[in-house]
Amino acid sequence: MSDESLKPEELLAAHIHNETSLDEETLLKKALGDNPSLSTELEEFKQIDAKLSSLELPQAGDLLTEKIMKSLPATQSSAAFWWVVAASLFLASISFFMSISKNVTLEVTDLSKTQPIISKSSSPNNKDLDNNPTNKAIAWLNKAQSESGSWSAEDWGTDVKYTIGLTGLALLAYTSIEDKDASQFKSISKAVQYLKNQQKEDGHFGDKNFNQLYNQGIATVALIKAQEKYPNLNLQNLIKKSLAFITKSQMPKGGWGYFEKDTQANTSISVWQIHSLILAKQTKIADYSAEIKKGLFWFKDVMDNDGQFGYRRPNDFPFGRTALNFMGSIFWLYDDDVPFNKAESKIKFRESLEQIAVSPKKYMNYYQFYFLTTALKELKRKKHFQLARMVQNILLKKQIKSGPMEGSWEPNDTWGQTGGRIYSTAMATISLASLN
């Protein structure tokens, strides 16, 4: 609609607001002189204008400012980054939990106090091992590990505040594959030592200003996995101290926020903490059943009618809903009393998954690859298995085949800028390992 097409009776509000052009004003004045009912209408509009102007609305206070500032991620997309990684890693546990729930004996044996535990099923010749994509990835991660034992975010182009989280992810990659040789165990031991050095008296890792509970959750999950795979590491006390910090930071309603004394919980952080508590219980390191249950009730509170988990409450998806759909996996993972309908959640989870899996290329993210490969495999249907292989092939093609970065993956997906090459390589490695 152009300005010229407006009739005088359509210009009353604009006139009151001093928004008419000179031509419009001339037109309106003439019409007001010619038409007394238009003048009456103008007076009535002025009364409405006065009423609208006097309407008082709730005032934003300093508290809202602080709440908003507190909700900001450390850097661009970092909250989303950790969130999707969290959702993905939940799936990583499917195999583990299933094996626990079915009482399957893990193929690991403690060979000595000073040597890594080697999987009995791992007996390929050296040539096969060298060409194995996950071994190539681990070889790159070996080279990328810093002297301190960490995988330094700064060294690989991202923010120092992610170092503990990225060290946790790399450690998870190591624990996801079968051991090749003692060098792997050496890297793991160094990483564990680094985390030990970072742990403070109250159990938290690193600087409390650096994504405190993200780092805490990831590191704890990784340590439990490491302890599970290498019992001779004797990490129980380290883990227990960390769990104590996690439970101390749990909010009264059951969720967790960014920091120890946060006032607002969100799913992305809570998922790491509850994941670590569940793992600790399953591996008999510590039994925090009451805290787990409280946490699950918090998750129930943020779940909508479609079985999807919101970020802070139902229908809250500031980072998209794709990853959130998959939180349904929690219902499979925890066999104890849960406040959900497990069968219903499983169906919804599968439906979401199949929808995504139809076009895996559309979701070229390492976390998504990981999620798809692990979850599709676990669905145990032929079509799911085929889709998982398709994703695996894409991933294999993307692994760098030569040069100094051989064995790693370019951090060129959605979260690559935030997580860097350590993230992309760790996630891709865990994805491939889940299909072996």
Partner: protein, 184 residues
């Protein structure tokens, strides 16, 4: 909004892009009331309006790399707010009972000015029940103090459309208030 104001916004956003969170705080302080008002008329109760305001700022922060000084920050912000609001309404399907709840909440705190407040509550309800297109221009003009041209830029509609929508909105508000009076 003056040219100087707009320049401040641009400067702050560039600082935010460079990693300065304190500049983002200035933006939040400047615009939070305006966003809160905007969401208040989207059938959001007080808590939801705050949450939607928070979500909008979070998105602005996450999309800060996409902000270009070529566009007014104001326009950038309210396009995000509008989309956040549309998404919210789509999900919620604008259930008026929430607005009623909000009115009840207000009611508890305003015993002394009952009659006056009753009229204000009615007016709020009338505005919140306007068709979305009309409500947007009313809220942006009255409760975000925007010039018509800014509203046109944000809503991506011609200036003339803003004028006619505002006019029609006021006409509808008047009719609804008159109808209520005659019902009493």
């Amino acid at each position: 909004m003056t040219e100087e104001d707009a320049n401040h916004d641009i400067q702050w956003m560039l600082e935010v892009k460079a990693g300065n969170k304190e500049s983002f705080r200035k933006i939040v302080e400047k615009y939070q009331q305006s966003l809160l008002n905007f969401f208040h008329f989207m059938h959001a109760n007080s808590q939801e309006a705050e949450d939607l305001t928070q979500d909008t700022f979070l998105k602005v922060y996450l999309y800060r790399e996409k902000y270009s000084p070529k566009a007014k920050f104001n326009t950038f912000l309210f396009r995000i707010a509008r989309n956040t609001g549309i998404d919210y309404i789509r999900k919620k399907k604008a259930v008026p009972t929430d607005f009623e709840d909000d009115l009840l909440e207000d009611n508890k705190e305003t015993h002394d000015f009952e009659e006056e407040n009753e009229k204000k509550r009615e007016l709020k309800k009338v505005v919140s029940e306007l068709p979305e297109k009309l409500k947007n221009v009313v809220v942006m003009s009255y409760y975000q103090e925007r010039k018509y041209q800014e509203i046109a830029d944000i809503l991506e509609i011609p200036l003339g459309t803003v004028k006619s929508r505002m006019n029609y909105a006021m006409k509808l508000i008047k009719e609804k208030i008159d109808r209520k009076k005659s019902d009493e």
